[in-house]
Symmetry: C2
Subunit: 150 residues, 2 copies
């Protein structure tokens, strides 16, 4: 997308050392690959997180779409909403021709996310300590139960 992506580009043999893995995927392939349903993928498109090409009526996903989906799902695992994820993803794409105001806005958002992530790291550390503690107690109780029934 950084290149105009002329759709009529014939992709001759001298396009480069390796034409950037110009593979394409069907919706079903992606679904299996990431263990989500096709409904989910279509939903993400509807929410503006994906924008695959169409061959006729059928969606055709390329490498870039696959990466986007991957990032989206990663964001989800971290508890981000689709809106939050879109915020970054879309701005990232709008970057090359973005004006200064947009770019500054993007930087703000990024700083925000970064702070969020750091907080999550701390939360994870704390929760790990909690879990360690609970586990230790559980093992203690279990050991003291060396012969009770059940």
């Amino acid at each position: 997308m950084t290149q105009p992506t002329s759709p009529s580009a014939p992709a001759t043999a001298q396009d480069g050392p390796l034409p950037r893995q110009r593979r394409s995927y069907s919706i079903g392939e992606l679904a299996k690959m990431f263990e989500v349903t096709t409904r989910t993928i279509r939903f993400y498109e509807q929410e503006g997180l994906l924008a695959p090409e169409r061959r006729g009526q059928t969606r055709v996903y390329d490498e870039k779409d696959r990466v986007r989906l991957k990032l989206t799902l990663r964001g989800k695992r971290l508890g981000f909403s689709l809106a939050e994820i879109r915020e970054v993803v879309m701005m990232y794409d709008a970057m090359p021709d973005g004006n200064r105001r947009q770019l500054r806005r993007l930087l703000e958002i990024l700083a925000d996310k970064r702070a969020n992530l750091e907080r999550q790291q701390e939360d994870i550390r704390l929760m790990q300590l909690e879990i360690d503690d609970v586990e230790r107690r559980a093992r203690d109780v279990l050991a003291s139960l060396a012969d009770q029934p059940d």
Copy 2:
């Protein structure tokens, strides 16, 4: 909670170096303290995450409740569902008189959570790298825009 917590303990002056901060909180205090609404706190109770005492009709929260709420909110920030959180919190409380099967189940759950947290750590690292990258590009573009209009 590890102690039987005799409710009729008169809390005389010689209860120890500091009687475990036997403070109590109203729902409103907790709400402000954690920046959530009272609705949220009541909802968590309804979902089995909290179980405050009652003075008449009014809820009275103690230190233990406060900690529970804190843990719950921490879990939420990490994207866990209330059901997942309850899973751990409840089993933790059921521990002292739990039988072996329950304890083993708890250990399973804990291992699960732990794996989950580790995955999240990895996700965070990856996303931080992404953000670094996006930010770098954004700054580059911004720099190259040293004089264009808005």
